[in-house]
């Protein structure tokens, strides 16, 4: 729920760019083509959105820092967080 609230508070374009990158796994060039942006603009937006979500989700992030995870972020089967 905290994630959804944080995502809802984002500007629509930032949210779409972030989800295209983090959830769909698209590259900067693909996102740029889909959103009519330059790859550098995508890079800046993704980073800025990450910083914003990092501050809003500080508590769950701090909790998960003690849990083994993959660099790709793909969760182990059977583990879900909301």
């Amino acid at each position: 729920m905290a994630l959804n609230q944080a995502l809802s508070a984002l500007p629509p374009l930032d949210r779409d760019v972030f989800l295209m990158r983090e959830a769909a796994g698209l590259g900067y060039a693909e996102i740029a083509g889909a959103c009519d942006l330059t790859p550098d603009a995508v890079r800046s937006r993704v980073h800025r959105t990450r910083l914003q979500l990092r501050s809003q989700l500080a508590a769950p992030i701090a909790t998960l820092r003690t849990v083994p995870i993959r660099r790709s972020g793909i969760p182990e089967e059977g583990s879900h967080h909301d």
């Binding site: 995502l7 295209m20 983090e22 698209l26 890079r43």
Partner: protein, 122 residues
């Protein structure tokens, strides 16, 4: 103004980055903390059941459609060729013999060649 830590996001996303810039960013403890937090954040996003992530994955399908069409066509051609091979092997010796007659019909009329009609000159 570009955030000096943007290189950490680019590194995390497997995008082009400057190694020197990444080294400088990670030399700072805050940069290392940011790297870890961004990995955890990605885990949070991908673990969430309610994130409509797959809604944008359809953008990838246009790239895969030609491959799927090619595989479908290849499968069809293979199936047709296999049918020809299997059908060819079933002809000849493997065909069942004609069954013996179980009933013989004797004709009741004696067939004979009748002379054809002709015109006789006077």
């Amino acid at each position: 103004m570009t955030d000096s830590n943007e290189v950490i996001s680019a590194f995390l996303d497997d995008e082009t980055f400057e190694p020197e810039a990444l080294g400088e960013a990670l030399a700072d403890p805050a940069g290392r903390e940011l790297l870890i937090d961004l990995i955890v954040l990605r885990h949070v996003v991908q673990s969430a059941d309610s994130v409509p992530a797959r809604a944008v994955t359809h953008r990838k399908w246009p790239l895969k459609k030609p491959l799927r069409a090619a595989l479908a066509a290849a499968s069809l051609i293979l199936a047709i060729a296999a049918g020809y091979v299997v059908g060819g092997r079933r002809t000849g010796a493997e065909m069942p013999e004609t069954p013996m007659a179980t009933r013989v019909i004797q004709p009741t009329t004696s067939w004979a060649v009748k002379p054809t009609a002709s015109v006789v000159a006077p």
